[in-house]
């Protein structure tokens, strides 16, 4: 074990001689430089490993005297952790800057070494004045290093930094000397044990000055304008050190001093951190410069970590306890790795606008790294930040600190907004030029990317401890494999994914029971079916299969989750995968963003709900414990419901759906529509089967859900009829369809649930069928507007049959399965007595006829367009799944009992009353009976009669030529007006238009504007004037002092 004092000896010895070596040869000095940096990694790393395995911590006494006589340094586990990380960062950032170092003066090497040494000193020292010296070493070396790019911007930023740092050190120095005066020592440990340090006003003020100086170095809101300038303008390799390395050291210094603080000061630190986190993220919303954006995010993250640590300590956790380090350590690692990686990327791209980062797409590995860092910062699985956030929410909730959770989640949500918007731009925007790639610049990024993935996996084992692990590991391993195999052609990857999904289904199906079987069929078998259309794609289709697999992994995970943690992790993995799938559509950028924002927002509501659940049911993570909740039932119900309903796209939360589903690729639309929406329903079933009645105030929540469902049916369908775009029509129709499902569940009766669950299966079949068929048409005619189609029945007869079957099933006309649903709805409405809601639902059902009719008429009937004369039938890979589904629909229609009976059987456990009574293929309720097979035959017979009649009469019909049309009092001024299907339901719009006004969209737009404009307003605080920033710092100090101590 090498004594860590050698880090200082090596740096100083080398730095003093380096300019001499450099005269001999630059290669020699570079070699020694990297050797030194590597030796630090070795020294701190080997200490970290041996301390982990239980070796005793080391106290280094300088000058051979024990403290407080002499300065001492400490190498404990936490010190080793921090120094290992920062030294590793130091080495990597030096590699990143290699080309710069080779070209620059030798001073750059010396200054760089000094920064790293200063960071090590800050972490290890236990003496307050020595801390000041190391702070100055670090700062002065950084101020100088900023000059590595000598443009005006970085000089200005450096000067502002110096002024701010100078003021901080003034406070630190005065505070330190008065702490010495009060305690008679400069050693931190002696100060901690010195009784009565804080009994005098002098002691309190002195400590306050020291803490506030450290806080200023940590860039608190609003005294941080200078820091943003530094982040924006300084060389990326150096900023990575400032943002990750120096911030880490300063955070650790703050943690080191927490034992000195009293309750007031702790609260102040926590409050400042929280405010910084929230406001940085708010102010970042309008930011267009990538590095400044990262600066805002860095400052916010540091605030978060600070708050979290202090809040946990205030809540009574021991400083070194595992839980504290699990949470704050996880958040810290997440920030540390992701932020350094992103700043490094910024140095490669060198673009001043977020949208110009789209050129990242030329390098798949860097794009992957970018995505990794962004998702890590947002806190999605499988990254450390996700697990830390989960644990944080659970821990704080158990302590009843809901206020902190809410603000932290709100801040995180704001952060998600701008990060996702950025990601969207990178994935979708046009770009002109490529960027130069050098190995030395990419290597550090890749290492940190891998590290964050490995740490994510490691964190998952820490947090899942005691839970069933394997549920997500196997599929995630496959996802990882697909990332590696992404260079293969589509058909191989598609086959591989199909095979893997099938195998995994085989593995987990035996574990499923009850309604989960139905969802198993939808999620997994449906998943396999909807992968088949993938064969139509040529080439490689990079970045598709890993995310499909991820979405399915999440869905499968939902099915077998036993704990809230497993459920939530699966949920987020599914969200992540589906987001990437959705954003692949050509015009999907804004829609994918709104999808993801609703998802993240919903997920945070869920997280809070799970946190409350955790706190009220005796700290249990078991999903089953939902049924035993006795306190805060209404709130938990509401929060979880909100989370699930965002995925179900109920009215109010639906605005993401039409765009997301409508603009997605041909084979993605059916996946997200037919399968993904059911995840929300699955969640609702878990929730509602556990909690049968919940109230907030006097309002019964299931009852409200009933209305919500009914209104969703009505408005969803109403909006669908006005769509010109065929895929959007189907998307809106999904909103309405899921409204049925919600309505059925909200009834909370046997029959209601039976309807809902079978309807879900039905919806899966017909919506996948319709999306595939329409997708095929769109693919062939290259437009989604129905008024540009027509007469395609002759060119695409197989697709026509699919759509026909699909709309019959959808609209609930006999003989197909949709009718079964309708029949049951009527029954259950009568049974429950929800006449008004029922009426709304039934009217909504009637509206569905309108758009169904339009869909088949405008697309397949009427005149064939001139430019469609050469159109071919859809590809076979699209037709195969369609006909499998048609077969399934037929089967289900003829033998409804095949599904209804087993579902009914297990529903009896939940709702013993009011089950269907089966008698030879007929189902009985108190109001009547229904026999699927019989209806099928009767309707089929009637259909046959009319068909034959038509067939015979039609022989005499005269064909109408294409241009033999009379326009009734209307002259077609625009081409679309020549299509009778255009604006087909204009008359309804006149009558009912006010109902389908986009009030909801307006509401969310207003919300968004509110946040953006307030962020934009507040950020004007940062005038750019260095003198104003001094004023900010002083005002900040005064405000904190007078608020904390009240004068």
């Amino acid at each position: 074990m090498v004594d860590p004092i050698y880090i200082f000896v090596i740096v100083l010895g080398l730095a003093f001689l380096l300019s001499l070596f450099d005269k001999l040869s630059r290669n020699l000095s570079l070699f020694l430089f990297f050797l030194a940096l590597a030796s630090f990694v070795y020294i701190s790393g080997s200490w970290f490993i041996s301390l982990l395995s239980g070796k005793e911590e080391l106290i280094i006494f300088t000058a051979g005297f024990k403290p407080p006589v002499s300065i001492n340094l400490k190498m404990g586990l936490i010190e080793a952790f921090f120094t290992s990380l920062t030294n590793f960062l130091g080495l990597l950032s030096a590699i990143y800057l290699f080309r710069k170092f080779r070209a620059e003066a030798v001073y750059s090497l010396i200054l760089y070494l000094m920064i790293i040494m200063g960071i090590n000193g800050l972490i290890m020292t236990r003496d307050l004045f020595n801390l000041f010296v190391f702070l100055e070493i670090t700062s002065i070396a950084t101020y100088s290093m900023i000059g590595i790019s000598s443009d005006l911007k970085s000089l200005t930023a450096g000067f502002k930094y110096m002024i701010a740092g100078g003021i901080a050190s003034v406070f630190l120095l005065i505070g330190t000397i008065y702490l010495y005066r009060s305690s008679g020592t400069l050693n931190i440990d002696s100060m901690i044990s010195s009784v009565g340090l804080l009994t005098t006003k002098t002691g309190i003020i002195a400590l306050f000055l020291v803490i506030i100086a450290i806080m200023i170095e940590l860039k608190p809101f609003p005294a941080n304008g200078w820091a943003l300038d530094v982040y924006q303008s300084v060389n990326s390799g150096v900023v990575a050190i400032i943002a990750s390395g120096i911030s880490a050291a300063m955070l650790f210094v703050l943690f080191k001093l927490t034992p000195l603080m009293n309750e007031n000061l702790l609260t102040a630190v926590a409050g400042i951190g929280l405010a910084t986190f929230f406001f940085s993220n708010l102010l970042a919303l309008k930011q267009e410069n990538p590095k400044r954006l990262l600066g805002y995010s860095s400052i916010g993250q540091i605030g978060l970590i600070m708050t979290v640590y202090v809040v946990l300590i205030k809540a009574g956790f021991i400083r070194d306890s595992q839980i504290v380090w699990l949470i704050s350590g996880g958040l810290f690692l997440n920030h540390f790795l992701a932020k350094a990686g992103l700043f490094w990327l910024a140095g490669i791209i060198k673009k001043e606008k977020l949208s110009d980062w789209a050129s990242l797409r030329t390098s798949p590995i860097l794009l992957f790294a970018f995505g990794t860092f962004i998702f890590a910062l947002i806190g999605l699985p499988p990254f450390p930040g996700f697990f830390a956030k989960w644990q944080l929410v659970m821990t704080l909730a158990a302590k009843g600190m809901i206020f902190w959770i809410v603000i932290i989640l709100l801040g995180s949500f704001l952060e998600a907004i701008y990060l996702l918007r950025w990601l969207g731009k990178v994935l979708k925007r046009e770009f002109q030029e490529k960027f130069a790639i050098h190995f030395s610049r990419i290597l550090p990024i890749i290492i940190f990317m891998l590290l964050i993935l490995v740490l994510g996996a490691y964190y998952s084992t820490l947090i899942f401890a005691g839970n069933n692990l394997n549920i997500l590991y196997l599929p995630m391993l496959f996802v990882f494999l697909l990332f590696i195999l992404d260079f293969l052609p589509v058909w191989i990857k598609n086959t591989l994914t199909i095979a893997a999904t099938a195998c995994y289904s085989y593995l987990i199906f035996p574990q499923l029971a009850g309604y989960k079987n139905i969802f198993g069929v939808i999620f997994l078998i449906g998943g396999v079916l909807l992968l088949i259309p993938g064969y139509i794609k040529k080439g490689k289709r990079m970045g598709f299969y890993p995310f499909v697999a991820m979405m399915y992994a999440g869905l499968a995970g939902l099915l077998i989750s036993k704990t809230t943690l497993q459920l939530f992790t699966s949920w987020e993995i599914m969200t992540l995968g589906s987001y990437i799938l959705i954003i692949r559509g050509k015009k999907s950028e804004p829609h994918a963003l709104s999808y993801m924002l609703f998802s993240v927002g919903g997920a945070f509501a869920m997280l809070l709900g799970f946190g409350l659940l955790f706190s009220v049911n005796g700290n249990s993570l078991a999903l089953d414990s939902l049924a035993n909740v006795s306190q805060a039932v209404g709130t938990i119900y509401l929060l979880l419901g909100l989370g699930f309903l965002t995925k179900m796209a109920s009215i109010g939360l639906h605005i993401w759906l039409p765009g997301a589903h409508g603009e997605a690729e041909t084979d993605v639309s059916p996946m997200v529509s037919a399968i993904l929406l059911k995840a929300g329903m699955f969640g609702m079933i878990i929730l509602m089967s556990a909690i049968h009645s919940a109230k907030i105030g006097f309002v019964s929540l299931p009852y409200s859900l009933g209305w919500l469902g009914a209104i969703t049916v009505f408005l969803g369908n109403l909006m669908a009829i006005y769509q010109e775009d065929a895929k959007r029509l189907l998307a809106y129709s999904s909103v309405g369809n899921l409204g049925y499902v919600l309505f059925g569940l909200a009834l909370m009766t046997h029959l209601g649930w039976l309807t809902s669950i079978t309807y879900a299966l039905n919806h899966f079949l017909f919506k996948a069928l319709l999306f595939l068929a329409i997708g095929g048409v769109v693919m062939r005619v290259k437009t989604k507007n129905m008024y540009e189609m027509g007469g395609l029945i002759k060119k695409m007869p197989l697709s026509f049959i699919s759509v026909l079957i699909g709309i019959i099933a959808l609209s609930g006309v006999p003989p197909l399965s949709g009718f079964a649903g309708k029949w049951m709805i009527y029954n259950v409405v009568l049974e429950k007595g929800w006449y008004f809601q029922g009426l709304v639902v039934i009217i909504g059902g009637l509206i569905a006829f309108l758009y169904c009719f339009r869909l088949i008429y405008a697309v397949f009937l009427g005149q064939l367009k001139d430019n469609h004369r050469q159109v071919k039938e859809a590809p076979i890979a699209l037709l195969i799944p369609q006909y499998i589904m048609i077969f399934a629909i037929m089967l289900f229609s003829v033998y409804p009992g095949f599904i209804l009976q087993p579902v009914g059987d297990f529903l009896k456990e939940l709702f013993p009353q009011g089950a269907l009574i089966w008698n030879e293929g007929s189902a009985f309720t108190q109001f009547g009976y229904w026999n699927g097979g019989l209806i099928f035959m009767i309707t089929g017979g009637i259909f046959a009669i009319f068909f034959l009649l038509l067939f015979f009469l039609n022989r005499k019909a005269q064909k109408v030529k294409q241009f033999n049309i009379v326009y009734a009092a209307e002259r077609p001024s625009r081409p679309e007006l020549t299509h009778v299907g255009y604006n087909f339901f204009a008359h309804y719009k006149k009558a009912l238009g006010s109902l389908s006004q986009p009030y909801v969209t307006k509401f969310w737009d207003t919300m968004s504007d509110l946040f953006h404009s307030s962020g934009d307003f507040v950020r004007r605080l940062y005038t750019g004037n260095g003198q104003t920033y001094i004023l900010h710092i002083l005002l900040f100090v005064l405000a904190v002092y007078y608020i904390t101590f009240g004068g």
Binding site: L155, T156, S169, Y178, Y180, G1026, L1031, L1034
Partner: protein, 117 residues
């Protein structure tokens, strides 16, 4: 010796006032170095004792007397460090000011507002 503390703080306040009101970067730096000087005085004043003498053992101060008569040596040691660090920072600030002047031809702090919001 309270007077020295008060003088020290007075200098600190004068320096801060200068940093806040002077528009010229050089004058702001002068303000900063006045603050620094003030701090040094404050640090020194912390170590004094009644009728104390310098902690150097020579003809006038024997080893045995040191504890009862000499002043606290720690602030004296600290102030040396503080002075050197203050010097280093001030020198660096001046170089920055020089470089900024070279780039922009101005020493007015309000002229350097390229980075904001």
């Amino acid at each position: 010796m309270l007077l020295i503390t008060i003088f020290g703080f007075a200098l600190i306040f004068i320096g801060i006032w200068g940093m806040l009101t002077q528009k010229n970067i050089i004058k702001m730096i002068i303000g900063f170095s006045i603050v620094d000087t003030g701090i040094h005085l404050v640090i020194l004043s912390i170590g004094f004792r009644k009728e104390g003498t310098a902690p150097i053992i020579d003809a006038t101060l024997s080893k045995a007397e040191a504890v009862s008569r000499a002043i606290d040596p720690i602030p004296s040691a600290l102030v040396l460090t503080a002075i050197v660090i203050g010097l280093a920072v001030t020198a660096l600030m001046l170089v920055y000011a020089f470089k900024m002047y070279e780039k922009k031809g101005s020493l007015q702090i309000k002229d350097f507002k390229e980075l904001k919001w």
